[in-house]
């Protein structure tokens, strides 16, 4: 935990993962080679889960890494960074990730609906972080980039232009028929 000057770099996130209620992996992405093999990743996840699933405390120092986490019903969201990383940046990534997913799943953040929309969740993860560099932390812009099934998203969460767009298309289709 010695204090040293950080080499300024954009690579701030080491891993993002979602685990289920029993600590099993639903999805996980590692951005550096601290845990090279799948087996090491699994043990790391298991240990991390054991430490965190009881106390809902948001942040923990674990094996020399800073992990911020958040849970909902039967899902656990983790963002892992180096112990020298700004904790607040990590937590802003986590929040962006969580919010984006909860929008994609229409506030229904649980394992079943996550698996049903796995494709979109993957895309969201891809949009948040690319190879360890934070791409975006703003949930609404992530959702708009993922931008799938706009017609499924309730009217209240669409922008005006999107609503008009869908309306236009529907009219077009009806005319063609």
């Amino acid at each position: 935990m010695d204090s040293q000057i950080l080499e300024p770099s954009l690579y701030s996130v080491k891993a993002i993962m979602i685990l289920d209620n029993d600590g099993n992996r639903l999805m996980a992405k590692y951005f550096d080679d601290q845990f090279p093999s799948a087996k090491e990743q699994k043990t790391f996840e298991k240990n991390l889960f054991n430490k965190t699933h009881r106390a809902n405390a948001e942040i923990i120092m674990f094996e020399g890494l800073t992990c911020v986490y958040r849970s909902n019903v039967d899902l656990f969201f983790y963002v892992v960074g180096s112990s020298n990383e700004n904790e607040l940046i990590l937590s802003s990534v986590l929040n962006g990730f969580y919010e984006a997913i909860s929008q994609i799943l229409r506030r229904n953040v649980e394992k079943r609906s996550l698996l049903e929309n796995l494709d979109a969740v993957f895309l969201a993860m891809d949009e948040i972080c690319d190879g360890g560099i934070i791409l975006d932390c703003d949930s609404s812009s992530i959702v708009s980039k993922v931008a799938i099934r706009t017609d499924d998203i309730p009217i209240g969460e669409q922008t005006v232009s999107q609503v008009i767009q869908t309306a236009k298309e529907q009219i077009k289709w009806s005319l063609l028929k």
Binding site: M1, S3, Q4, I5, L6, E7, P8, S9, L10, R25, M27, A28, K29, A38, K42, K51, A55, A57, E58, I59, I60, M61, F62, E63, G64, V68, N86, E87, L88, I89, L90, S91, S92, D119, A120, F122, L123, D126, D130, G131, I133, I134, L135, D136, C137, K145, V146, A147, I148, R149
Partner: protein, 828 residues
């Protein structure tokens, strides 16, 4: 799609899957299309022939649909290599300045990934990145800044400009601010700039930023600065104090962790936050609570210690090992600060020892107890008792052997040594071979040190002679024989003080001996002596016994070859010096013979052999338009020293160090050991082109005057640690004793005197006598060393404060009369 799972896909499979996937390019479904990009990215590492899709991706990248362009760029960059890069360069440049934020960000980030492989291509995109920084989207700004910094990283001036430019323009993105703060603080650290630099001002201004991410980053940066004073820290600390009462656990955690770090260096600065920290002790997040307590332990006063200890023990079982180690370290430092509280602390530590925990954790506790014992003689009894209890039930061999070693060293000197024997003998019965061997050694030390226990120790050791392990048996037999002799000198030489040679050196010498069989017995004195590591306390604490190849036990040095062994290796490689015999000592720190900013920088290291001395000159040429050839250092002969040979450095180009050696024969007269040489650097200068490094053919002779090199007594003496000074003192005997009294009028305190004497003589302080207890007016310093040629030398210096100066009575004992004389005269 699910290659996130457990099984790794083979290369051929991946390729097949990949081609199947490329058919999806025709797909209209947006989601599928996007997933495909991800797939390409992930598979690019394992599949072959990924290049094939480049053209399709390029089409998408320049297409109309913004939604596809970003991911397409990222996927493309993950599959291209340097050769392909040329062709997509134009598109990348366009993309960086694209209006659509997502596209610009994607392009910037990808180019950052690319720049790891090929610096020069991305370098050409500086202008585009420059433009992107002024974008109004926060993420684009952040990424552009990152890329700019990465490109200009090696050019300090450019980075400075970059920071000063953007610290004036207000950036929008908090992330970009954080990055900028980091760059600035790195600059400050590199340049050792004080608080008056503009960078510092910028960081301080950031403390008043709106966004808390930025505020925290700034505070963090300030705390981590090297030479910061308590007063300068005050604004940062007050910001962190505010964070402490935030509702967000992450913020609280960050604040407390940083405060904890402050407390390590500047406890006074944190005292203002004590109240807030106390509130955090009951925090639901255990990590926060622990950090709060340890911070308080560092800053708190003596009276609050008891209360805090009680608090910690309530949730010790719930926190992770790492935090427990933090707590242990905090307690250790506290214990050194308030020696009177050692009772409470010791009990706490021992109860922690009994709890469950991993090796690292136990090791930290044992370390702490050992350090406390060494520092506080009152705590010794209790500490040893706790450790004894611990080894009764210890599964870690390393820790057990270490504690046994400590018991062997400290135990005999306690008022009731007999009670430890029981613990040690229990080990002999119950443990594995390594521990048994250590226990046998410890027991032998008891026997050698305490007359009244000798008989019983011999009996116990005899029982060990039937042990199933060779090492244990050997040791036991050896010790029994030595003890039976009942000679103080033998005891001290073989049991109490062990063998002082470097393991690597011994190995080499033995190897050489077996290669060239001769009738002579192997000479121990030819083995280079162990250099005492600078962190002497740690090495003695860590001196766990290892079953070695010799019968005598030896304290383990660091297994890695020490610096001196490296030098020995180097020197042995030079044919001129091959017949000098074994290297006796190398001076520890190089002496600067020039100012650090002159044309040529020369540093000198002295290597002492039994009859010769080699001066190693490390030269660096700081002029980039010159190449030096045939560099030698010319040394003037003085009265008795005779310069024999020079080994020139054939060529010394700009900025790469070269080495030249000079060999000097030491005077025959044993007492003439000191001298001063005036040195001149001689060389042939050739001008050269600074860019290509090609030198002209013609050169001219030149010389450069260096500062004088001095040879002092310390160069002839090797430090040696004698764990038991008293026994060695008796062993050497009074035959060659010399005594003299000096008045050291220039020394104002005992501390100064002790430091100077150690420096003059170059010997190792024993029994921790280099630390002068506060408030005393008299002190005795014990020094031990080996003089050139392998003569043991011991020094006892009695110091006393006398009006304005220090008076010293110096007694030297050694195995050679000349050595005593030299050492006594060294002080005068």
């Amino acid at each position: 799609m699910i290659n996130q799972g457990d099984q790794t896909i083979g290369s051929t499979e991946a390729t097949e899957a990949f081609f199947a996937m490329t058919k999806l390019f025709q797909s209209k479904d947006a989601t599928l299309r996007r997933l495909m990009y991800m797939g390409i990215k992930d598979m690019s590492k394992i599949a072959n022939d990924v290049i094939i899709v480049t053209s399709s991706l390029m089409k998408d990248m320049t297409g109309k649909d913004d939604q596809f362009r970003g991911p397409a760029i990222r996927a493309l960059c993950s599959i291209t290599d340097t050769t392909m890069l040329q062709s997509i360069e134009r598109y990348m440049k366009q993309a960086i300045v694209d209006k659509c934020h997502a596209v610009a960000s994607a392009a910037l980030v990808s180019s950052l990934h690319l720049s790891k492989g090929s610096q020069d291509v991305t370098k050409r995109w500086v202008n585009e990145a420059q433009e992107a920084v002024s974008s109004d989207n926060i993420m684009v700004q952040y990424h552009a800044l990152g890329l700019l910094y990465h490109i200009k990283k090696h050019d300090k001036l450019a980075v400075t400009k970059l920071v000063s430019k953007f610290s004036k323009h207000s950036l929008k993105s908090p992330y970009a601010y954080c990055l900028l703060i980091r760059i600035a603080s790195k600059l400050i650290a590199d340049e050792d700039a004080g608080s008056d630099s503009p960078m510092y001002e910028f960081i301080e201004n950031c403390l008043r930023h709106k966004n808390e991410i930025v505020i925290y980053e700034a505070a963090h940066a300030m705390v981590n600065m090297k030479g910061i004073t308590t007063k300068e820290l005050a604004p940062a600390v007050s910001v962190l104090q505010l964070f402490c009462s935030s509702p967000k656990p992450t913020l609280r955690f960050a604040a407390v962790r940083t405060l904890n770090r402050v407390a390590m260096k500047h406890p006074a600065a944190v005292t203002t936050c004590n109240l807030d920290l106390e509130n955090l002790i009951t925090d639901t997040n255990r990590s926060i609570a622990t950090l709060a307590i340890t911070t308080l332990l560092k800053t708190g006063s003596e009276s609050s210690v008891d209360r805090l200890m009680k608090q910690i023990s309530t949730f010790m079982s719930e926190i992770s090992d790492e935090f427990k180690i933090v707590v242990v370290q905090a307690i250790q430092s506290l214990c050194l600060k308030y020696p009177r509280k050692h009772n409470v602390m010791m009990n706490f530590l021992s109860s922690m020892l009994r709890d469950e925990g991993g090796f690292e954790y136990k090791k930290a506790i044992v370390d702490s107890i050992i350090i406390i014992i060494e520092d506080n003689s009152e705590a010794k009894e209790a500490g040893l008792a706790h450790l004894c209890e611990f080894i009764e039930d210890c599964e870690h061999t390393v820790l057990a052997t270490r504690i046994l070693h400590l018991l062997g060293r400290e135990g005999p000197r306690t008022p009731t040594p007999s009670k430890y024997i029981r613990f040690i003998y229990n080990r002999v019965i119950l443990e594995n071979a390594a521990v048994r061997a250590a226990a046998v050694t410890a027991m032998a030390k008891f026997g050698a040190h305490c007359e009244e226990l000798l008989e019983s120790c011999i009996v116990l050791l005899e029982r060990c002679e039937l042990d199933s392990d060779d090492e244990v048996r050997d040791r036991a037999t050896f010790y029994v024989h030595v003890l039976r002799e009942r000679q103080k000198a033998l005891n001290s030489a073989y049991i109490l003080n062990g063998l002082q040679v470097s393991v690597v050196g011994l190995e080499r010498a033995l190897h050489q001996y077996t290669l060239e069989p001769s009738d002579k017995p192997f000479d121990m004195k030819s083995v280079p002596l162990a250099t005492q590591p600078l962190t002497e306390q740690r090495s003695t604490a860590g001196g766990a016994k290892e079953p070695g190849d010799t019968v005598t036990s030896k304290p383990t040095e660091k297994v890695a070859s020490s610096r001196q062994d490296v030098y020995a290796e180097q020197l042995a490689g030079i044919p001129e010096f091959a017949n000098l015999g074994p290297l006796f000592k190398s001076s520890s720190l190089p002496v600067e013979l020039t100012e650090s900013e002159t044309e040529y920088v020369v540093r000198c290291i002295k290597h002492t052999y039994s009859r010769y001395m080699v001066f190693q000159f490390d030269c660096t040429n700081t002029l980039n338009d010159q190449v030096l050839e045939k560099v030698t250092v010319h040394m003037e002969n003085t009265d008795d020293f005779q310069v024999l040979k020079c080994v020139p450095c054939p060529k010394l180009p700009y900025d790469s160090p070269g080495t030249t050696y000079t060999l000097v024969r030491l005077p025959e007269e044993a007492t003439a050991v000191t001298g001063t040489f005036s040195c001149t650097l001689k060389f042939i200068v050739k001008d050269c082109d600074p860019n290509t490094g090609e030198a002209d053919d013609e050169g001219y002779d030149d010389e450069y005057v260096l500062e004088d090199v001095e040879v002092s007594v310390a160069d002839h003496v090797q430090k040696v640690m004698k764990p038991n000074f008293g026994a060695s003192w008796d062993e050497v005997g009074p035959d060659n004793e010399m005594e003299d009294t000096f008045a050291l009028s220039t020394m104002k305190t005992l501390d100064d005197a002790v430091k100077n004497i150690i420096q003059y003589l170059g010997m190792q302080p024993c029994e921790r006598s280099d630390k002068v207890p506060e408030g005393k007016s008299a002190h005795t310093l014990y020094l031990a060393g080996v003089y050139r040629g392998g003569h043991d030398a011991l020094v006892q210096a009695k110091l006393a404060m006398a009006d304005g100066g220090v008076t010293m009575q110096l007694t030297v004992r050694s195995t050679d009369p000349n050595v005593s004389e030299v050492l006594v005269s060294a002080i005068g």
